[in-house]
């Protein structure tokens, strides 16, 4: 029996019991859709991260920290998340002072002349416009970043031209919180930034007369006026919570503030350390990045590249994908039990017909193949249906989730990713599992004795 005849024969048989076949195919389709949606969700998250990192040239970024960050320990959720190692002493912590910053700049100039080196400065502040106010994380960046992806092509207006400019760049969602309807409306407007810092006089009073502590924290607020120069691109907004304000790095030096590091240092009085929480190096390509990382490691610093972080993320994603795939596979396997049931029912109904076919010359293999192809056809149709259902369901879930994400972060994310390999694998897996489900019924049909079947009424 040729394959084409086998296929026509099998499809004609499936058409005879349209409702039963349709329901079985639907079951397989739902199982396949669950598998597709699960795996595409993991794949989508990974692709979103990968694309964003890549679009923003973050794979060319190195972050130097006082202590060595063991990513594998962090990502394996160990209790001991950070350990400190230096060039000689594993417990030594490197204080990232201005002299370290200059040394890093010198090395960078030698290996990657166009690299941008700057300290990581992040601090919270209150932003006020008119009667509206909100709290935002402020980041101080060099003006030189205006050549780097994400800052080069900002949404509206322009990135500040100098490190001492009084312009700031803000995220779109922050503008909305401040009452601006469009970026065009906001650019050029002056906003007030309020920072908190330690009040020297109050601090002295608290130190000398602890009893006075009850009168309040030794903290003072300072207000500054800034002009909104530009609005951040969507890409760069995706990587943060959405509430973001960027000011020139030199300007930030004159802003009195408590950043996270200084707050932590207040809590770690015994260690007597002061310095940047991190130094960032933005090279122009990955080759330079790798060379720079090696050079910085060689002088005992603790560089971590985004590539390293992403590799660790990928391991996590793999586990996540596997867990999702297992859940999806269970759904599909349960659905394929329906195929076994359908095939057994079909054999019972066609018992005499199988006898006739065998009496006129069908071999065991012919009968087995007929039922195998019927199972595979259900698997194939279910698989294709599953891809379509999975895709539609993913679009709906994605659209609904993006309503929330858009409100919170001002951007839209691709939660699901359907690469060709996933679509083909889902259909192939559905067919394979269906063949497995059809194995027992097909063999049972093949073993039917014609004499016995012809007696059956």
């Amino acid at each position: 029996m040729s394959f084409i005849d086998l296929l026509k024969f099998a499809l004609a048989n499936l058409r005879r019991a349209k409702l039963r076949t349709g329901l079985t195919i639907l079951g397989v389709a739902i199982g396949t859709a669950a598998l597709m949606a699960m795996v595409s969700y993991g794949s989508g998250l990974q692709k979103t991260f990968s694309d964003e990192f890549s679009d923003l040239e973050l794979f060319n970024t190195i972050r130097l920290t006082p202590s060595k960050v063991d990513l594998s320990t962090i990502l394996s959720f160990s209790k001991k998340t950070v350990k400190t190692v230096g060039s000689n002493d594993p417990k030594k912590e490197i204080v990232l002072t201005d002299s370290v910053l200059e040394r890093v700049r010198t090395i960078s100039q030698l290996i990657a002349p166009n690299a941008i080196v700057y300290p990581e400065v992040i601090f919270p502040c209150k932003v006020i416009f008119d009667t509206l106010e909100t709290v935002v994380m402020t980041e101080a960046l060099p003006a030189a970043l205006n050549t780097v992806a994400g800052y080069r092509d900002i949404r509206y207006g322009s990135f500040f031209a100098s490190d001492s400019s009084s312009d700031v760049v803000v995220s779109e969602i922050l503008l909305n919180r401040l009452g601006f309807k469009t970026p065009e409306e906001a650019v050029g407007k002056t906003i007030k930034l309020v920072t908190i810092s330690l009040d020297a006089q109050s601090l002295m009073n608290v130190t000398m007369l602890p009893a006075q502590f009850g009168s309040g924290l030794p903290i003072t607020e300072t207000a500054y006026d800034f002009r909104i120069g530009g609005v951040l691109s969507q890409d760069i907004q995706k990587l943060s919570s959405g509430f973001r304000l960027i000011m020139p790095i030199q300007t930030s030096a004159s802003v009195r503030r408590l950043n996270f590091l200084s707050t932590i240092e207040l809590l770690r009085q015994n260690e007597q350390k002061s310095g940047y929480q991190a130094i960032i190096v933005r090279a122009t390509n990955q080759k330079e990045t790798e060379a720079l990382k090696a050079a910085l490691e060689a002088i005992g610093l603790n560089p971590t590249s985004f590539t390293d972080q992403f590799e660790e993320f990928k391991k996590l994603f793999l586990l996540f994908d596997l867990a999702l795939a297992v859940i999806g596979t269970i759904a599909l396997v349960v659905a394929t039990l329906g195929i076994t049931n359908t095939m057994i029912m079909s054999i019972m109904e066609r018992y005499r017909e199988i006898g006739i076919m065998k009496a006129v010359g069908a071999g065991d293999g012919d009968v087995r193949n007929i039922f195998f192809v019927e199972s595979a056809a259900i698997g194939l149709l279910g698989g294709i249906g599953g891809v379509v259902i999975g895709r539609i369901a993913a679009e709906i879930v994605s659209a609904l989730a993006n309503i929330y994400v858009s409100n919170q972060a001002g951007v839209k994310l691709n939660f699901f990713h359907f690469p060709l390999w996933l679509i083909l694998s889902a259909v192939g897996f559905s067919v394979a599992v269906s063949l497995l489900a059809g194995y027992y019924p097909a063999n049972r049909a093949a073993k039917i004795e014609p004499v016995e079947a012809l007696r059956y009424q």
Binding site: M1, E353, A359, A362, D364
Partner: protein, 248 residues
């Protein structure tokens, strides 16, 4: 396709049944449906196997048709021992060497007349165009050229049996094996089928017919083998049988 009848007939009988017995183990008690049965059939014969219900004639049909295996003895068809064939060899034997005609027609309900006729060719791997061409020729031969696309439920009993006869001939087998071919038909339709079988025999095809109807056997067969309780009780050759019947 089997070798030509002429080439074979010069060598040996077409069918040789030697000491064949068939015992069924029903509820642990063995029941002998056939006891040591022996006979042979020459190419071109029209042999009727008659007997009452339970005489063993259906068992003998199943054994010669390759749908069952004897408990003892040997069945040889065209020089090949079918009683020792594997399952796949038996399937090929049923497809190529035997044309089965059943009392209840045994057509597949969801197939058209031509698809039913061509069913054995489907398992031979013949192309659809060849199957259709051959089926049309045979349906024309049995007088059903106007019923090619009709389903069995759209055909009368006589027409269904003619489709079954066309199916039996589709692979040009060595012989036809007919099991009560007129058992489910009224007398007028039976006459049509009898004439058709007679025509086929006249064209040189060997026919083995199982029937409990002695008058039908006398009308058609050149030889009548009578079974009783699993044994052959008579084997009469009637060389003048065919000319007597239906001189149309």
């Amino acid at each position: 396709m089997p070798e030509s009848d002429a080439a074979r007939s010069s060598a040996q009988p077409l069918i040789v049944v030697k000491d064949v017995g068939r015992v069924y183990n029903l509820n642990a008690a063995p029941v002998a449906a056939l006891r040591s049965v022996s006979f042979s059939v020459e190419s071109g014969d029209f042999v009727a196997i008659v007997g009452k219900s339970g005489s063993g004639k259906s068992t003998l049909l199943n054994l010669i048709g390759g749908m069952d295996k004897p408990s003892t003895g040997v069945i040889t068809v065209a020089g090949k021992v079918i009683s020792e064939m594997s399952s796949d060899q038996l399937a090929a034997y049923r497809r190529q060497s035997v044309g089965m005609i059943f009392q209840s027609f045994n057509l597949i309900a969801n197939m058209s007349a031509w698809e039913n006729v061509a069913l054995p060719m489907l398992f031979s791997g013949a192309s659809e165009s060849k199957r259709l061409e051959r089926a049309k020729t045979l349906l024309d031969m049995v007088g059903l050229s106007h019923r090619v696309e009709h389903r069995p439920t759209e055909l009368s009993g006589g027409e269904q049996q003619r489709v079954a006869i066309a199916r039996a001939l589709v692979n040009d087998p060595y012989f036809l094996l007919a099991d009560e071919p007129t058992g489910n038909l009224d007398s007028r339709t039976s006459d049509e089928i009898v004439r058709l079988l007679q025509d086929i025999h006249k064209q040189g095809k060997t026919v083995l017919m199982i029937t409990h109807d002695l008058s039908l056997a006398e009308l058609l067969a050149t030889r009548i083998i009578t079974l009783k309780d699993g044994d052959i009780i008579s084997d009469d050759t009637r060389s003048d049988a065919v000319p007597k019947a239906f001189n149309h």
